[in-house]
Symmetry: C2
Subunit: 281 residues, 2 copies
């Protein structure tokens, strides 16, 4: 990328902490500025050498940044962008790692930023764990990153954001906000909800006998509600749409099982096995 | 265990192949006899030293065995047991690794074995992969093994089977066939079906973007239908029961999401996260 001198990372949890480490490893010439209200995370990030400098408020940090990455929960995005716009240098490019995109774009054009150019992004990397303690240098490596395209946006800023995510070793996928939200509803948000429902359905006595199959299937249900509740709320339209399709599959499965329709059951299980085998392990 | 001189393992797929290797490692004094129609698997098992001797039919192998473990798909169990009973030495103890138990017990007492004493077992270990090529020496290590208790069975045979599974480094859990089938419906069969439905629900375009969350959640859907179809059929009563409970959870989730009931959604997600965190990673 055309190198910004200072990349500010707002929020030093799992995503922000890992991002700071990745920027240090992959774009060593860039200065990393960590912005967080969490003193312990700032201290640890400085000690690990994952950030060069630290700030506890947007007001203190943002004026020093040439490029900003927001790594806070999705429900804080709107308010944060407004504040960043207030303190940023003219032309500062801002991206993020949020899991839902449509919501942001619904109000972004109306707000009309004064100083910043915002291009949403969503690297498909993560963990059920959270906080700076769970951050890993290689969390983003090999991930796919959605970068959101819209007609209103600056092409130069879009290229800059794509270039940033590519520099970190991720593969950029350009999509509209609507495409994004539909895709993640199917491959992330609905699976999360179903994993949670599976856990809630199992009797405590049964849960004690769980082996690798159940553990893998339900791992993501350990994700913290503080992270996931805002995601579910802001993408509920697409999640409900994906759920409707899923319920149709359950009905087909249930009917086949109840009526002993072996052929239908074989097609469902075989179709799923083949389709799942098309993506890597 | 009171050591049998020869343990016959019928079926050298993932489960049987791994079992042969485990017996060799953990009970080295015992001779392992592999019985399989699959010539390649027998040859490979001999070459790896996982079996001492090989037989291609029950007729050829069973008379030589002191202890038998059936590792073939659940729908072959009934016919196999009848044949084993025909060729076995008087008093031969037989166990298995099948995923469903109620079905077997429904006809076992009626059949009334002449020579064998059958005690069903189900080690909770496995993989979505199948066949001898997927077998691993340590597949069973640290697993929990259900051993089925019933009033009709011989206490000595039950102890022998428990001792066998303990010798392999698994933890034995004594349950009735009914308890077993209910537990595995909740922690294995229903999750498998839901993983398959999730895969079938995702648009192919979305599937290409899947990351670790989706991959883990749906890994088991890669299981081969030849293995899983008989499991679903023979445990359908308990699976339908578990599915009903699951559907109740989905309805609660859907209503909370559609109506924006944040408190309910937070309780569902938070409850699942806490419950899932109680079992190991």
């Amino acid at each position: 990328m055309a190198r910004p001198q200072t990349v500010a990372i707002i929020g030093l949890g799992l995503m922000g902490g890992s991002l700071a480490a990745a920027v240090r490893r992959k774009i060593p010439k860039v200065r990393v500025l960590g912005i967080s209200r969490n003193r312990a995370a700032l201290r640890d990030a400085l000690r690990k050498g994952w950030v060069h400098e630290a700030a506890r408020t947007l007001e203190a940090g943002i004026p020093r940044a040439d490029f900003v990455v927001l790594c806070t929960p999705v429900d804080t995005l709107r308010a944060s962008l407004a504040k960043i716009d207030r303190w940023a240098k003219k032309g500062t490019v801002v991206t993020d790692v949020g899991s839902v995109k449509g919501d942001v774009l619904r109000w972004t054009p109306k707000t009309g930023f004064r100083n910043i150019r915002f291009i949403g992004a969503h690297p498909m990397a993560g963990s059920h764990a959270r906080g700076f303690g769970a951050a890993q240098e290689r969390l983003y490596e090999g991930a796919q990153t959605f970068v959101i395209r819209s007609e209103a946006q600056s092409p130069a800023a879009y290229r800059k954001v794509c270039s940033f995510w590519q520099s970190l070793g991720t593969r950029v996928i350009g999509v509209t906000a609507r495409e994004h939200d539909r895709i993640v509803a199917e491959i992330s948000h609905l699976p999360h909800a179903m994993a949670a429902c599976l856990v809630l359905s199992a009797a405590p006595k049964s849960l004690l006998r769980a082996a690798s199959g159940f553990k893998d299937t339900t791992r993501i249900a350990m994700g913290h509600p503080d992270v996931w509740l805002p995601i579910f709320q802001s993408n509920r339209h697409e999640i409900l749409r994906a759920l409707k399709i899923f319920e149709g599959r359950i009905r087909a499965f249930k009917t086949a099982l109840a009526l002993g329709k072996q052929g239908v059951l074989a097609r469902l299980l075989g179709g799923a096995a083949r389709k799942r085998s098309q993506i890597s392990f």
